[in-house]
């Protein structure tokens, strides 16, 4: 039953070995990485504060490290038994109260000094931002993140778009796949360059503040083990400047494109709504065409699918080839076991014609 064989998708970016040799050279330059998921490169105040706190602590730790290791090495060398030893015993010292007090009190004082800013940091990290902030609701599903923008009535997945230089307060919980608390497991939202991580707990609400000082694309991952495809639950945060942000909001709040009659895309739209005796896409995925209110299904909202760059927990580039492979056999693209637990994307046994039409329709959802 549990033989969940998954093959790594052919489309994943493989990095050849020789890149590692290049990295070896890069290693000499800096401890900082070359990627956008680096906790040592804060890009906003909520990542900067922990960073500023840890640097002095790291320096103190380094001093203690050098001191203690130096002591160990020095006494190992200095007090080693020499070849010309006369066999007598060294002085039998049993202890020294003054020294004991010194190495009890000094560490205690250092720690007390560290404790004060730590406690301040805990409260300031968790408090509501002082300035005007934007709320985004985050729901962790197995195995993708969903975002809802209550100010704009926008649903999207995996890629969170935010305005740069604005505090954002995430209001988070976890469910899957039905939208009540009866199912769901703990996840953790972590975009290291913008903020530390915070767990998402089913049945409870947690909060996380983040802010990007500059426009940019920041990477993250689910950081609490959440089962089979935990490794495939990625996060992207796209911070936009004011103009781009407004354009994005305008696009997202407009209804989905409805293809012209008689086109392949239109055929895809029909299939999206009705696959005969198979489960229709529409039963889980919403494409909002302007009527009624937006209400999410079990799967990611597809209204403006092509405004995103990646899909399937943000592990695959969003292009025709990948979409087709995904629809044809989802479990070959991402570890899931829909037959067993109903979590993830089912294999709908689509024919080639159906695949052509559905992919065409999806690619039109910009």
């Amino acid at each position: 039953m549990r033989d969940r064989v998954t093959m790594r998708p052919p489309t994943r970016r493989r990095r050849p070995l020789h890149l590692l040799i290049l990295a070896l050279l890069a290693l000499g330059l800096s401890a900082c990485g070359d990627a956008e998921q680096n906790a040592l490169l804060p890009a906003g105040p909520y990542a900067q504060e922990p960073h500023d706190l840890i640097i002095p602590v790291a320096i103190i730790a380094l001093v203690v490290f050098v001191l203690v290791q130096g002591l160990i090495i020095y006494s190992s060398w200095r007090y080693r038994e020499r070849a010309d030893d006369d066999g007598s015993l060294p002085e039998q010292v049993h202890g020294n109260t003054r020294l004991e007090i010194v190495w009890t009190v000094i560490p205690a004082l250092i720690l007390a000094a560290i404790a004060v800013p730590t406690v301040q940091g805990i409260f300031s990290q968790m408090a509501e931002p002082d300035d005007d902030f934007m709320t985004i609701e985050v729901i962790g599903h197995r195995w993708w993140f969903e975002y809802y923008y209550p100010d704009h009535d926008i649903y999207t997945a995996n890629e969170m778009v935010i305005p740069a230089n604005t505090p954002v307060r995430l209001q988070m919980t976890a469910t899957d796949p039905a939208r009540d608390a009866s199912q769901g497991v703990i996840h953790s939202f972590w975009v290291p360059r913008l903020a530390g991580k915070q767990d998402l707990v089913p049945g409870q609400t947690t909060f996380l503040n983040l802010q990007a000082d500059e426009p940019g694309r920041f990477l993250g991952m689910c950081a609490e083990y959440c089962g089979l495809s935990h490794a495939n639950m990625r996060i992207r945060v796209e911070a936009l400047d004011d103009g781009d942000w407004q354009a994005w909001v305008d696009n997202q709040t407009s209804p989905a494109t409805v293809p012209d009659e008689g086109t392949l895309e239109a055929r895809g739209r029909e299939l999206y709504g009705d696959l005969g005796d198979r489960q229709a896409c529409a039963s889980c995925h919403q494409v909002w065409e302007g009527d009624g209110s937006r209400s999410p299904g079990q799967g990611p909202d597809l209204t403006h699918l092509m405004s995103r760059q990646e899909f399937a927990g943000a592990i695959h580039d969003l292009d025709a080839e990948n979409l087709r492979a995904w629809l044809a056999d989802p479990e070959s693209m991402k570890a899931m076991n829909y037959e067993l637990d109903g979590i993830g994307m089912p294999n709908l046994n689509l024919t080639d014609d159906e695949l052509d039409a559905l992919v065409a329709y999806l690619l039109a959802l910009d």
Partner: protein
């Protein structure tokens, strides 16, 4: 012991398989623990090999994600519950009676019971691989993920419950032994530090095991029988599980490290030929660590759903616990200061322990910086940290102990040359494997992912490759150790009774230890009693050697006038083994919800218990079998 003329009331064989199944000798049980641990260490090592193979390069899939998740879960469970804890138990078993001047533990058959429960619990856990898949919910088994993983996590809940029972029985046994069976004159402040640490560890077990037992029962009900303890749909709180788990889980960390600290506190003075610097401080620091260890659990939950007040309180207690830990480190270093250090293999591993543990301790302090903990938590930085504590710490200390007491057990020395090869390759392989993880974690690599994401960049990829290469070094090093162990058992150089010029009681007895341990129970007048029987102080306070034979520095048999004529040792018994077999039907009965199988096991347990308590003594001189166990323990006075 039993003779051929008396009726065969108890198993009497002293060699062969049956003698091992029926043994109640703490030394043989210790040896059983040791070799079982080696087998599980091999399995856990193979699992780590798969983990490092999978992550050696980005985006590769040597094994499926499902299998990877099973393997990393079992790696954690194995190393914690089936290797480090029972390896400590091996030392407790062998050394506690010897170091306090007793002939056995308080309850020899209960001791055998602990071992068999441990073995069968381990076998039960590993049977999951053949019965639909091993647990794949990580070693912490968080709810509510646990409940959705079904049968495989049933193995987790029930298997660890069984192992907990083993530890609980052992804890009761060892606490009673240490408190109640010390040789005359061995006051608390004359006990060896190892005994102190064993006492603290077993008290930690005593109070931590019931908490995890509760958490595991709740998981079992949720996962297998539809319980609602942690099910958010009906209002259950998944965070409650985290509190219960870590209320056990953090003391568990000290349960794993304190025995190694005790071992190192014994070896460093012997290797430096000086007494332990600040004995009282080391002892009180150990007790303080154990005590405060119950008040820091939520620092494993800093990113969970807990508020700023709780985060602050646990940040402070976590920083606080660093103080007694620091005290110990400085005392160890100053034990070496001014000594004449002989760098034998056990000494090398002890110094390695102190050095590596300092790294793990310092990274531990950085976890208490809660805002930054949110960056470190559940990344490879944490993986690096706890491997520096548990591998660089606990395992280095335990290996030091293996080299140190090997002559005690076998009467032979392990090869020093191979031992030094083992140490330096072990040190290199360890740092190569776990050092880079500090960096890969800070650069954004989360734990427990079946794939190394390529998007983390080439630097992270390189660090992972280095870690994987480190495992190869460690494997080679482990083979050197294994070869050394086997060849030394077979044809090691004879060690004599006291090869290290040691300080504590166990070295007064002949090596290998005779089955009675002590022909005469010694009377204790000093801390480091054996040392004081070998050295006196001259007028200037300098220690001078007492000529051999001038004092009672050896415990020999035969012609000694004082040797006790009749030493009553605990009789072997098969019932602990037979009774423990009942845990298989009980465990599988609970797992598959089969009341008949469960009832069979329960009945077996009850019948086994009756056979146990009504078992006659081999010598037939006491028809109160229950008292037999105590009999041996206090043999000297009872006769």
């Amino acid at each position: 012991m039993s003779s051929t003329t008396t009726p065969k009331l108890r198993p009497t064989k002293e060699t062969g398989v049956l003698s091992w199944l029926a043994t109640t000798d703490h030394k043989r049980i210790g040896i059983l623990y040791f070799f079982t641990t080696l087998v599980f260490f091999f399995l856990g090592g193979v699992e780590s090999g798969f983990i490092r193979l999978q992550l050696a390069q980005a985006e590769q899939s040597v094994i499926s994600e499902d299998l990877y998740n099973q393997i990393f879960t079992m790696h954690g469970i194995t190393m914690v519950f089936l290797v480090v804890m029972p390896l400590s138990a091996a030392f407790f078993n062998y050394l506690i009676p010897l170091m306090i001047g007793a002939r056995d533990v308080a309850f020899p058959r209960l001791n055998a019971f602990s071992y068999w429960v441990y073995l069968f619990g381990g076998i039960f856990l590993y049977s999951s691989f053949f019965l639909g898949g091993a647990p794949a919910g990580s070693w912490v088994g968080y709810a509510p993920l646990h409940a959705t993983e079904g049968m495989s996590m049933g193995f987790y809940a029930i298997g660890i419950q069984i192992l907990g029972l083993s530890s609980l029985a052992a804890a009761v046994n060892f606490i009673t032994t240490i408190l109640n069976m010390r040789a005359p004159g061995m006051t608390f402040m004359r006990m060896p530090v190892f005994i102190w640490m064993a006492l603290v560890t077993n008290f930690l077990l005593l109070f931590a095991i019931p908490v995890i037992a509760v958490a595991l029962f709740m998981l079992q009900f949720d996962t297998l029988y539809g319980g609602q303890f942690f099910q958010p749909g009906s209002g259950g709180d998944p965070i409650l599980y985290q509190h219960l788990f870590w209320l056990f889980g953090h003391p568990e960390v000290y349960i794993m490290i304190l025995p190694a600290m005790g071992i190192v506190s014994e070896i460093l003075p012997v290797g430096s030929r000086k007494p332990l610097f600040g004995y009282a401080a080391v002892v009180f620091a150990g007790a303080a660590i154990g005590f405060i260890g119950f008040g820091v659990w939520a620092h494993h939950m800093f990113t969970s759903a807990i508020g700023p007040v709780a985060r602050s309180a646990f940040a402070l207690s976590t920083m606080f616990i660093a103080v007694p830990t620091g005290i110990k480190v400085f005392n160890w270093v100053f034990t070496m200061w001014g000594g004449k250090i002989r760098f034998t293999t056990p000494m090398l591993f002890s110094v390695g322990f102190v050095s590596m543990f300092v790294i793990g301790g310092l990274s531990g302090v950085t976890h208490a910086i809660v805002p930054h903990n949110a960056q470190q938590h559940d990344t490879y930085y944490v993986v690096a940290h706890f491997h520096y504590v548990l591998f660089g710490g606990a395992l280095f200390g335990l290996i030091a102990g293996i080299y140190f007491w090997f002559p005690k057990v076998t009467g032979k020395l392990m090869s020093e040359k191979l031992g030094k090869w083992h140490f330096w390759t072990w040190l290199l392989g360890f740092n190569l494997t776990f050092g880079p993880m500090h960096m890969s974690g800070l650069l954004g690599q989360p734990r427990r992912t079946a794939v190394l994401p390529g998007e983390l960049g080439a630097t992270v990829e390189l660090y992972n490759l280095l870690s994987s290469l480190g495992v190869i070094v460690l494997t080679g090093s482990a083979l050197v150790f294994l070869y050394n162990l086997i060849t030394s058992i077979k044809r090691g150089e004879a060690s004599g009774d006291d090869p290290w010029n040691a300080r504590t009681l166990e070295w007064m007895t002949p090596s290998p230890t005779p089955s009675v341990n002590f022909y005469r129970i010694p009377t204790i007048t000093h801390r480091d009693e054996f040392w004081h029987r070998k050295y006196a102080e001259d007028e200037s306070g300098k220690p001078v050697s007492i000529p051999a034979g001038a004092s009672d520095d050896h415990d020999s048999d035969g012609d000694d006038d004082h040797a006790e004529e009749h030493i009553h040792m605990p009789d072997p018994s098969l019932w602990p083994f037979v009774m423990c077999l009942a845990f298989f039907p009980i465990a599988y009965g609970m797992l598959y919800f089969n009341p008949w199988l469960f009832a069979l096991g329960a009945l077996w347990l009850v019948v086994g218990y009756f056979l146990w308590i009504t078992e006659p003594l081999a010598e037939g001189d006491d028809d109160d079998p229950e008292d037999a166990d105590d009999h041996a323990a206090v043999g000297a006075a009872a006769h």
